[in-house]
């Protein structure tokens, strides 16, 4: 593969690392949603989620179970492929942008150098800005797929 290391061990570790960084990002989602909901609730003098678990921390887990048990729905006039594909595509720019963030100094074991990030990139900040602007198209995709002018707007 291109730029994934030279030795077989290094390439394997790089692939596993890519998945690990992605899973780290996915793990961040519940806590960030909790911070957003609870934070904005306190700003507006409300309580926010405080029933499920300590301080409402497990709220998103309960929400995930609820989302999984909702029935699968596409409007009649929607574009079925775009409607299903939009959430999948929305993950891609987010994950690629997150991979370019360096977390720590590189770890050097023997001759191999392991970066504590998804992949090293020369102009990371421009790359992150460029990739995250691609996320707008996935939102457009979801709006178009639903077949509703209101959602598209």
């Amino acid at each position: 593969m291109i730029d994934m290391g030279s030795a077989p061990l290094e390439i394997t570790i790089n692939f596993i690392k890519t998945i690990l960084v992605f899973l780290t990002m996915v793990q961040l989602v519940p806590i960030l949603v909790w911070v957003e909901r609870r934070g904005s609730a306190f700003i507006q003098n409300r309580f926010g989620p405080n029933r499920v678990g300590p301080l409402g921390l497990v709220q998103l887990l309960a929400d995930a179970v609820k989302f999984l048990t909702k029935e699968d729905f596409v409007p009649d006039k929607g574009n079925k492929f775009l409607f299903y594909a939009a959430p999948v595509f929305a993950l891609i720019p987010a994950a690629i942008a997150y991979m370019a963030i360096p977390m720590s100094t590189p770890l050097i074991v023997g001759d191999s150098k392991f970066l504590i990030q998804g992949f090293e990139i020369n102009v990371g900040i421009v790359f992150i800005l460029g990739i995250s602007s691609l996320a707008a198209y996935t939102i457009l995709m979801a709006g178009w797929g639903s077949g509703s002018k209101f959602s598209l707007m």
């Binding site: 730029d3 994934m4 909702k70 959430p87 891609i92």
Partner: protein
Amino acid sequence: MPLGGIIFITVFIAVFGTSLIYLARWTGGRAKRTSNAKMEIYECGIPELEKKDTKISVKFYLTAILFILFDIEIIFMYPWAVHFKEFIAAGAGPFVFISMGVFLAIFIFGLWWEIKSKALEWD
């Protein structure tokens, strides 16, 4: 560019996300058509007036193209500005400055022509 990593994570997310969508379908089940109104698109409860792919005025495309034209011009000016001092040190300052002047003159002529042909006016 670490193209290998980008391609790998794109494929991985495509598989991961698709399997999540199928998991949701498996656990939640397909939507049952209990009424025709349920499957309609939602536009604040009123019946939909036009189709989604309704006609849009061509003026939007004109404005968008003109915006892109003058937006991309900026991208050419960034590297010029970054390397300008090196060009001065190399003794090519006036040539590079006049080059950018000619480039900008063409663009300002374009802007003048745009205004004159009333491309920036809405009606």
